[in-house]
């Protein structure tokens, strides 16, 4: 706990100092970066120790508020589990960010950006450890605002401002539901002290608990990016600087999952429909998320949609766990819960890796458009290798870490299939959806690697790219190593989760360990097989290297195909690679295509432009907000611009209230 406090104080200092040094951007950047990295190092060590030792600790300070708030922090295995990836990604992001932002020195304000970056990290510590509901809401809001300012960092661009506005609106709609949840919770229990809530919720009617649960799913789902509340993600992640995208996508959206787990477990035994709701939300998120990812040309937008997909997988796992809890299937529930937790950890690792990599590519080539890249593996081999590992991990290929969570989820769903007719249907849908998602994800990231890294460069910028500096590359390398390590150590990790699973499920530790131990067998077997394949690949590569030594090796352009004058334009583009799959789902995706073919027998120029916008945003949110805007615009006359009239409104209101209060008394 004291390590966390040290980290918190360091972060607050490291957010104040860059602001004070705003006139000297290089100094501000150094202060913010070092301070943030040091604080995250301390926090990481402390939270790993806390998780390994299943430490529970709490601290409270008095805080004068009218409704019963207190500045009380509590550390338990759940907090520690979410703190570990948070510190890891934020720390690496602080190192990476200094190199990334150096390109903007003089054009954009670096001091404020570092201030908000470290404030975001600090607020996430409090969000993940708050044990008072009011403190939780306040730190939640600080987190939202800090990330808003980070998204609008490049505020000269209309794209950033739009993204920021969208994010702010979406985040506050979500927070509104959380406020309702906290207010209802306080009304039902009479306290804001979260440690007393589980006991106090026990005697509450099921309908009210259901209402609370729906508030939680909407409130936290907006932050986590569940469909159809995901609309802010594909705008905000591309607009933000890459280290911020990595932090937001890698860890900040996970606070939504943390909230669901923290508050959801307080509500006691779930009804069957709770799990059904989460499974439905999860299925929609993962299938649509990955389909939209497949149809994007912007790398970071694709990664943002892929975050929607991965959060969908987590929601799916949580849904399966809830269904199993409702039907008294402890093994299935434990496995699904373990799957959700591991996928949260793993997604934090590989998604931040991919965002770091995408940022490095953007800095090297000045474009995020896949169709303007190509051939980068030859130009930046080390970064490229890291990206390939990340893509394999996110496609859930063994022995990398993305596989572990999804495998556990499959296993849980299959185990539960025969238990009950209704649940069987839900679990079958989960398996089918997950399989479809997995296939599409593999296609999606094959496309990313194939189009950006392989082939020949499509533009002079891509051709001129060189291996980026160490600060860009090392975070990617570290995370890639972690992808492999977490994948290989998967079975071991599952066992280590037992104390946390026992905390979440309420079952005693011995029972949880007993149920989990036999279930790690298949995972171990698959991991060993994959390791063998990996070893085989290494051996083959080594043998090839040995065989080619001393011989004449000629290198030709990729896709050379014996043509006399091949050009880079003869390659598959990102759009054409995805076309067969996107075409299958065109009714859902509503992709638009524009052709321009010159007339004549020998057309000189032709163009094809395909674009896929967010269906939910275009078909649901935009019309709804336009409708609201139309109906509320008659209120515009209230804002006349005259100070006198505004004061008159206040006077009329106050006098009206005064007369209304005094009307009876004498």
């Amino acid at each position: 706990m004291s390590g966390l406090l040290v980290s918190l104080i360091l972060l607050l200092t490291a957010s104040a100092l860059p602001l004070a040094a705003w006139r000297r951007p290089a100094l501000a950047s150094r202060l913010g970066s070092w301070g943030g990295a040091a604080a995250c190092g301390v926090g990481l060590a402390s939270s790993i120790a806390a998780f390994a030792g299943s430490v529970t600790a709490s601290r409270a300070w008095p805080w004068v508020t009218p409704v019963g708030g207190a500045f009380s922090l509590a550390l338990d295995p759940l907090s520690a589990f979410f703190l570990i990836p948070m510190f890891l990604v934020c720390g690496l992001g602080a190192v990476y960010g200094r190199a990334y932002l150096a390109g903007d020195e003089g054009r954009l304000a670096l001091g404020p950006s570092w201030c908000f970056y470290n404030l975001l990290t600090a607020s996430m510590i409090v969000v993940l450890t708050a044990s008072n509901a009011l403190l939780f809401l306040v730190s939640w809001e600080v987190m939202t605002l800090a990330s808003f300012f980070l998204v609008t960092y490049d505020h000269d661009r209309a794209e950033s401002r739009l993204a920021g506005r969208l994010y702010l609106i979406a985040a506050h709609i979500g927070t509104a539901f959380l406020v309702v949840f906290v207010l209802l919770g306080r009304r039902y229990t009479g306290t804001l002290d979260m440690s007393q809530w589980p006991a106090a919720f026990a005697g509450i009617p099921a309908a009210r608990l259901g209402l609370l649960f729906v508030c939680l799913v909407i409130g936290f789902g907006t932050k986590a990016g569940f469909m159809p509340l995901h609309v802010w993600l594909p705008e905000a992640h591309p607009a933000a600087p890459s280290h911020v995208s990595a932090v937001m996508s890698g860890v900040m959206i996970k606070t939504g999952i943390y909230g669901l787990l923290r508050f959801g477990t307080m509500l006691g035994t779930p009804a069957l429909w709770w799990g059904g709701l989460l499974v439905a939300v999860g299925l929609a998120s993962c299938v649509f998320g990955i389909l939209f990812a497949l149809a994007q040309q912007d790398i970071k937008r694709q990664l943002a949609y892929s975050s929607v997909e991965n959060m969908g997988i987590v929601a799916l796992a949580l849904g399966v766990a809830l269904v199993a809890r409702a039907l008294q299937l402890p093994t299935v529930a434990l496995l699904a819960l373990a799957a959700a937790l591991l996928h949260v950890l793993n997604h934090a690792v590989f998604k931040s890796l991919l965002f770091f990599g995408a940022g490095a590519i953007y800095r090297a080539t000045h474009t995020r458009n896949l169709d303007a890249l190509g051939g980068l593996l030859k130009r930046m081999p080390r970064l490229g290798l890291g990206l390939i590992v990340g893509a394999a991990a996110i496609s859930a290929l063994p022995p990398f870490n993305g596989f572990v969570g999804e495998f556990l989820l499959y296993r849980a769903a299959v185990l539960g299939l025969n238990s009950d007719a209704d649940a069987g249907m839900i679990l079958l849908a989960a398996i089918g959806g997950l399989a479809l998602t997995g296939g599409l994800a593999a296609a999606c990231f094959t496309r990313l690697v194939g189009v950006a890294l392989l082939g020949e460069p499509r533009t002079p910028e891509a051709a001129a790219a060189v291996e980026p500096a160490g600060a860009f590359r090392w975070p990617v390398t570290i995370l890639a190593a972690l992808c492999l390590a977490l994948g290989v150590l998967g079975p071991f990790l599952v066992v280590r989760l037992a104390p946390l699973l026992s905390l979440l499920s309420g079952d005693p530790l011995a029972k949880v360990s007993g149920l989990l131990a036999p279930e790690t067998g298949p995972l171990t077997a698959v991991t060993l097989m994959a390791l063998l394949v990996l070893a085989l690949v290494v051996i083959v590569a080594w043998a090839r290297h040995g065989l080619l030594r001393g011989r004449d090796v000629r290198e030709a352009g990729t896709w050379d195909c014996g043509y006399a004058r091949p050009t880079a334009r003869m390659q598959y583009t990102a759009t054409s690679f995805a076309q067969p799959l996107v075409g299958l789902f065109v009714r859902l995706l509503r992709s638009r295509r524009r052709y321009a073919i010159a007339p004549g027998l020998f057309p000189a120029s032709a163009s094809l432009n395909a674009e896929t916008r967010d269906v939910v945003r275009e078909r649901v949110f935009t019309p709804v907000f336009q409708f609201v805007d139309r109906w509320l615009s008659f209120l515009k006359w209230l804002q006349s611009g005259r100070v006198q009239l505004y004061i008159l409104y206040i006077v009329i209101t106050l006098l009206g209230l005064l007369f209304w209060t005094l009307r009876g008394g004498a």
């Binding site: 804002q639 611009g641 005259r642 100070v643 006198q644 009239l645 008159l648 006077v651 005094l662």
Partner: protein
């Protein structure tokens, strides 16, 4: 003591009515200065013992409200060509009628206010109505006048009313609270003075209604 208090209250009513009925900015400033003296001596009349604190608060209030503020205002107005409040949203006669109605409302409200712990003070017939009437006068000035200087004065008058009301409702209000209020007021007026100065430099006038072009809606397509 009570007769002196009555006289001060009557003078307060009269200055308020004078503010509502006049059009010259100079008269406004002078009447506000007089009001400053009136509310300044009030603590001396209300407290039965002459503590050092009371004298200090009275002296401070008078110094700020009837010396410093009028001097500031006069400085600001030195550059004006036009020292009249022209074309207010409500004419002077209508404002006076409204003022008389406000006197009625003030009396009605003060009769119905819950008895506070003030004891003798609340029982004094005119303190609370005078306070409320000053607040209403300030609000009327704020709402119906155009010039920024008049707006500042409206704010000052309203604060005078709040000061008197505070004395009635919270007689145990300490030295510190009153000092705080005074400081608040000073900063407010000071800032407004600077703003008026800059608005005038920038736009060549201090008509607040022309600032309406700065609103969010409808100004630009």
């Amino acid at each position: 003591m009570t007769s002196w208090l009555d006289i001060v209250m009557v003078l307060l009513f009269l200055t308020d009515l004078g503010l509502l009925g006049s059009s010259r900015l100079g008269v406004y400033v002078r009447l506000a200065a007089v009001q400053g003296v009136l509310v300044g001596v009030l603590p001396l009349l209300v407290q039965h013992t002459l503590a050092l604190e009371t004298v200090a608060v009275a002296a401070g209030t008078i110094a700020v409200k009837s010396v410093l503020f009028p001097w500031l205002m006069a400085r600001i107005m030195r550059g004006f060509d036009d020292r009249r409040e022209r074309q207010p949203y409500l004419g002077y006669t209508v404002s006076l009628v409204l003022g008389v109605l406000a006197v009625g409302a003030a009396l009605w409200i003060s009769r119905r206010l819950p008895e506070s712990g003030a004891g003798g003070l609340a029982a004094h017939g005119f303190l609370m109505p005078a306070a409320l009437f000053s607040i209403f006068t300030g609000l009327i000035l704020l709402v119906t006048r155009r010039k920024a200087v008049t707006q500042v004065l409206g704010y000052l008058v309203m604060e005078n009313g709040i000061y008197v009301a505070g004395m009635v409702l919270v007689p145990e209000s300490t030295f510190l609270v009153e000092l705080g209020v005074l400081l608040d007021l000073f900063v407010g007026v000071f800032l407004m003075g600077i703003m008026i100065f800059h608005i005038q430099r920038e736009f060549d006038h201090i008509d607040t209604d022309q600032l309406a072009a700065l609103k969010d809606w409808g100004g630009e397509p």
